[in-house]
């Protein structure tokens, strides 16, 4: 069962060969067996899972309501689930139990999806390796001495290790796509506004999106179908008709115009990464796509703009963690000011503090125009670059990351860590949909191919990614670090 895609599991369930309880048990067993090494989960909610699966699915032969019914999934621990402790991998939220559930999770659970547990992340989604988790790091199932990527490292690792068929993650600067690339799974960041952010603990409000990490593009389409769509509780969610994403997976990319950004390939990337991506482009050509170079002239400013905008919004979003109404509070503080400072200093890890400080600085009196406002203006230019490019092409292709998964402790310097996100960040700044699909190995480690689409054109994006996936030959590969994983 492990390694089965959602469709296969759905068929097993609806034809009565498996029950949801079987799937839950299997998930829990896999976690029991190998999560001691991977450490993807912060909390396993087994009892709740059994209680949640409706009686209908417990009985064999019952027709499933939707693709997602009865199928286990994991949720990144920055997604609130009512009654389930949600920590954002931060000590400051230890013990916090939300009275509300994130819309994306609610939609899946309403469709009968079964939450198996909350998975690890970089604290408050700030990081690219999950090393910043306030509790413990997660390890890459392909090589346990290496990071799974971040911030949705737990989500990617849980899927790669076969603990769950899919997981929800969040992506602000690459946090779904980059760990997907490092762990050899598929990771989709939808167009900004397509999936409700209600219940996603905010990091950078104008950049955050929730999305699926899965074993296949088809599975990503299935999960997206279940979570996309306007939500009255999120003023930034957009009222658009949700197409049938599955139906768009025709395998046909004849005449598809694929753009390759010159500027991306002028940066440093590992040789193996470059080669795998070039091979992927060849494969697309073979399938009938037309590949051509495009220019995104303001690419070089994207990282700077992002590392001012995201921390600025974060500094405001994280100010509510003050020890007053929830979370941890420093004891015996003599006065209010001390209480605030001690609570926040003890509760936040160093990366979170760094970003809060940069963000506060970028917004502060005298610096707002030079930093935050300027960065938002540059953001407009980056968006315009993409708009111009999409007048000529239908999807843009690049590596997801410049290197495959690195070792723990290798990127100790913050700035070096930030450079991981060089291909993924511009996408968030422009609010576009993007997907990372495995495209081969370099020295035994997965390499990710990123495809970027037009706003709200997930159908073209998924079609292209799916067509490529069918010929990529990656589907049969599995992480070997955990021994024989089916």
């Amino acid at each position: 069962m492990r390694g089965f895609g959602i469709r296969a599991l759905h068929v097993e369930l609806s034809e009565g060969r498996l029950t949801s309880d079987d799937l839950i048990r299997d998930s829990l067993a896999a976690i029991e067996e190998a999560d001691g090494q991977v450490r993807a989960f912060l909390r396993v909610t087994g009892e709740r899972a059994f209680a949640q699966a409706s009686p209908k699915e417990k009985v064999t032969g019952a027709p499933a309501l939707s693709w997602l019914t009865g199928i286990p999934f994991a949720a990144k621990d920055n997604l609130c689930v009512e009654g389930v402790p949600t920590t954002c991998a931060s000590r400051i939220l230890e013990g916090y139990v939300p009275p509300h559930t994130a819309t994306a999770v609610r939609r899946i659970e309403s469709a009968g999806g079964v939450l198996i547990g909350k998975v690890n992340l970089d604290e408050f989604a700030m990081g690219s390796s999950t090393e910043n988790s306030g509790f413990y790091p997660t390890r890459n199932p392909w090589d346990l001495t290496r990071v799974p990527g971040g911030s949705s490292g737990g989500s990617a690792a849980a899927v790669a290790a076969g603990f769950v068929p899919y997981a929800l993650g969040s992506d602000t600067g690459g946090s779904i796509r980059q760990p997907a690339a490092f762990c050899g799974v598929v990771g989709l960041k939808p167009t900004y506004g397509l999936v409700s952010r209600f219940g996603l603990v905010a990091f950078a409000s104008s950049l955050d999106q929730i999305g699926p990490l899965t074993r296949s593009v088809e599975d990503a389409a299935i999960v997206l179908q279940g979570i996309a769509g306007w939500d009255e509780r999120d003023s930034t969610s957009v009222q658009v008709d949700i197409p049938d994403y599955l139906a768009s997976l025709t395998g046909d990319v004849g005449g598809l115009r694929v753009g390759v950004p010159t500027e991306y390939f002028e940066t440093d990337m590992d040789r193996g990464v470059r080669d795998r991506v070039m091979e992927a482009l060849d494969a697309l050509r073979q399938l009938g796509a037309e590949v051509r170079p495009i220019r995104l002239p303001h690419t070089r400013y994207a990282l700077s703009a992002y590392y001012l905008i995201a921390p600025a919004e974060a500094s405001s979003n994280l100010a509510r963690y003050d020890g007053v109404r929830f979370g941890v509070r420093a004891k015996d503080a003599a006065n209010l000011l001390t209480m605030y400072e001690r609570t926040r200093s003890a509760g936040f890890g160093p990366e979170v503090k760094r970003r809060i400080l940069i963000g506060t600085y970028a917004l502060s009196s005298g610096y707002y125009d030079a930093y935050y406002k300027r960065a938002q203006q540059v953001r407009t230019l980056i968006r315009q670059d993409f708009e111009a490019a999409f007048a000529e092409v239908d999807v843009i292709v690049s590596p997801t990351t410049p290197t495959p998964a690195f070792r723990f402790g290798e990127k100790a310097d913050p700035l070096t860590m930030y450079l991981n996100d060089i291909y993924t960040i511009p996408v968030n700044l422009a609010g576009l949909p993007a997907i990372s699909v495995p495209c081969g190995l370099q020295d035994g480690l997965p390499v990710g191919l990123q495809l970027i689409g037009r706003p709200f054109d997930e159908t073209t994006l998924l079609r292209a990614a799916d067509a490529y996936e069918r010929v990529s030959g990656f589907a049969s590969l599995r992480p070997t670090a955990l021994g024989e994983v089916q």
């Binding site: 609130c80 409000s205 917004l363």
Partner: protein, 476 residues
């Protein structure tokens, strides 16, 4: 050295919506602590604001009623600061693109009517309430008030006396109340006022150093606070000193202003556009619809009462203090022979009874047409003014017509001369001493006989007639 006082007011008004500005919690005065909160207004992790359409409508209506230029495109900004009554550690407000600017309000002024400028009006959310714990060194936080929709109205420093400040507040309150935007009750906190005040030598155009006054919880205290601070600053300046820019708290008990503890750091609110809320984009049609919702405003009603009904300015000011009273007067006066009489009755007896009964003009039961009818009955002599006053009271508590009450209680004024003559004869015969006193030249004795007669007739005798009759009969 003559000084000129310069005052500007910053007023916060709670909008009359059913729910909060960014979530669906009900707005309710006096609910148990933290019983009107939800994850959104609690500032829980992962929550998002959604704008209340009624709050936007009322805010725009207010801006238009205050003659502001309304922006067709504006936005919300985050005002970042840490305080226990602010759960998100930022307040959603408007910084550089408020919904309205450059408005004005007319006041009667000190010697002549004046226009007071309104710099800006913007939408924002309210904060919670802090109280001191009776046990130990702690504060308690009730977040029911968090998220109640407010408009902040900032005036130009155009006011010149504490009384003008009061006039401005009264007029602002009237306008907003007429528009249905807010109840504007300072005692309930739905209208709050902070003031900035400075002095400068007469003739100087630059502003002097100002101080900010807070904690004035009634119009009267605003006046008291400004009067005290005005004199305090004058004394400092006359002594050759300089006014220190600081925030002062008005102390109600002593009537003085006291320096508030200075905050740890000057506030850097780090305003930036709130990414969770779309821009507010309005159309002309939307503004036109809001404008159409604005009723005849107090100033317009006053002008009309003065021109059409010939009322003096004093009357029109009192009668337009609330929309209910103004409309009541309007209906009654339109059906009465003498609008000034209607005004007198309303300003006098009616308001008096309302106060006594703890009622409002709209909660008592007498309709304006009924008041007009009552005045007609006095006019045509059916009842005396004195009797009318008690009938009025009954009308207000029962809602019955004057004629019905008069009939039930047999209060028709006795104007039948023959009947009165008969009673007068009896009274005169029964009070020989008074007659003797009158004959001796004591004019008061006449009054005493008239009084007896009124008593005999239970007040129903027509007093003018009685006076004439007794006087005539005594002379006979």
């Amino acid at each position: 050295m003559e000084f000129e006082t310069v005052i500007g007011l910053e007023v916060h008004v709670e909008l009359r919506t059913r729910t909060k500005i960014f979530c669906g919690c009900a707005v309710e005065f006096g609910a148990a602590p933290n019983s009107r909160v939800c994850p959104v207004c609690l500032g829980s992790p992962g929550v998002l604001p959604v704008l209340n359409e009624e709050a936007l409508k009322l805010g725009i209506r207010a801006a238009l009623a205050l003659s502001c230029e309304v922006r067709l495109s504006s936005k919300f900004d985050r005002k970042n600061y840490f305080y226990p009554d602010s759960p998100k550690a930022y307040q959603i407000s408007q910084y550089d693109e408020p919904i309205g600017e450059h408005g004005c309000v007319m006041i009667a002024g000190t010697s002549a009517p004046r226009s007071i400028g309104i710099t800006r009006i913007h939408l924002e959310e309210d904060a919670g309430k802090l109280t001191h714990s009776p046990f130990g060194d702690a504060s308690l936080v009730d977040l029911n008030r968090v998220g109640i929709p407010l408009i902040e109205i900032v005036s130009e420093p155009d006011l010149r006396t504490p009384d003008e400040a009061r006039q401005y507040l009264e007029e602002l309150k009237s306008i907003l109340q007429y528009c249905g935007v807010s109840d504007c009750r300072m005692e309930e906190g739905s209208l709050r006022c902070d003031a900035n005040i400075s002095l400068r030598p007469v003739g100087q155009t630059t502003l002097g150093t100002k101080t900010e006054l807070k904690n004035m919880n009634s119009f009267r205290n605003v006046v008291r606070g400004l009067e005290y601070e005005q004199e305090r600053q004058r004394a400092v300046l006359l002594a050759g000193g300089a006014v220190v820019q600081q925030t002062l708290r008005f102390d109600e008990a002593t009537g003085t202003t006291i320096v508030m503890r200075s905050k740890e750091d000057a506030h850097d609110y780090r305003y930036f556009p709130d990414p969770d809320l779309p821009r507010i984009e309005l159309t002309q049609a939307y503004l036109d619809a809001r404008r159409a919702e604005i009723p005849e405003l107090p100033a317009q009603m006053r002008a009309r009462f003065e021109q059409v009904y010939g009322l003096p300015a004093y009357d029109s000011l009192v009668l337009t203090s609330t929309q209910g009273l103004a409309r009541y007067f309007d209906v009654a006066a339109s059906q009465a022979r003498d609008p000034k009489a209607v005004s007198n009755w309303l300003m006098g007896d009616v308001l008096g009874y309302l106060k006594e009964m703890s009622q409002e003009i709209d909660t008592q039961l007498m309709r304006p047409e009924q008041l007009a009818q009552l005045l007609r009955l006095i006019d045509d002599g059916t009842i005396s003014t004195k009797i009318a006053k008690t009938v009025l009271r009954d009308m207000m508590t029962s809602g019955q017509d004057a004629s019905a009450i008069i009939e039930q209680q047999g209060l028709v004024q006795i104007s039948d001369e023959a009947a009165l003559r008969e009673i007068a004869e009896r009274v005169i015969a029964a009070n020989p001493k008074s007659v003797e006193d009158w004959r001796a030249g004591k004019e008061k004795a006449l009054g005493s006989l008239v009084g007896q007669m009124m008593k005999e007739t239970k007040g129903k005798a027509n007093p003018q007639l009685v006076n004439r009759l007794i006087a005539d009969m005594l002379r006979e």
